[in-house]
């Protein structure tokens, strides 16, 4: 059973809208306060990457269940330039944009599941999951 919601990411203000929607879905999923904070923080990082490096894209929010547990799945999708070296991009401190290089690696730590699909010229899709404890 899934329940899907989509948010466009095309401007600075859309990143704020992403945070608002993710927060309300995290609340609805009954995540703990700390987990809500972690999920919204990761979403903020990933949405900014979609905007800045991916040239814009969208977020798909899904309420999911694996039969035992319920959770929240977020997919950040863009059709931008993609990432050449995914391993490198996931390293703490690696940035091509003068950032701290913590967005991807930090989001991976904040979430329960993290998946990055990307190929040069074919865009990027980052999918993360938080399960309700």
């Amino acid at each position: 059973m899934t329940d899907t919601f989509e948010v466009p990411i095309d401007s600075d203000s859309d990143v704020v809208v992403v945070r608002q929607h993710v927060r309300s879905h995290a609340l609805q999923a009954k995540l703990s306060l700390v987990d809500q904070t972690k999920v919204v923080t990761a979403a903020s990082e990933l949405a900014r990457n979609t905007l800045v490096y991916g040239g814009g894209g969208r977020l798909v929010i899904e309420a999911i269940s694996n039969g035992v547990r319920r959770g929240l799945r977020l997919s950040f999708i863009d059709e931008g330039p993609g990432i050449g070296d995914v391993e490198q991009a996931l390293t703490d401190g690696w940035s091509t944009g003068g950032g701290l290089g913590l967005g991807l690696s930090g989001s991976r730590r904040l979430m329960d599941e993290f998946d990055l699909e990307s190929a040069p010229g074919r865009g990027t899709r980052v999918t993360v999951v938080k399960w309700v404890r």
Binding site: V16, T37, K38, V40, T41, E45, R48, L100, G103, G106
Partner: protein, 126 residues
Amino acid sequence: MERVPILKLGDILIVSIQIDLQDQGVLALQEDLADAVVEHRARGVIIDITAVEIVDSFIGRMLSTIASISRVLDAETIVVGMRPAVAITLVELGLSLGGVRTALNLEKGVALLHSRDGVDSDTVTR
């Protein structure tokens, strides 16, 4: 774009972030604060984040940058009111907030700045 007001209390500047700022607003606050420190010859800057629900790498970098800029301008920055969930998340994200001092609340932040001044003048007169 929404701007965060900067209040002046003696030689201390106080900023309370009450809205979910977009990145441009965060950068504007950083510039406004640097200007205000110079203009008012402030000795301290207090940033109240009691109402802030998340601190991501962008806001975290702003806090560190403000702390560095004010230090160069001979002012000290203190971040007050960080929520426990925000602190836990920051650590896991990997943000160290280098050079940023923190206090539990506004009152303690102001006291910290004043005590620093006290210690300073004490050392000088000795």
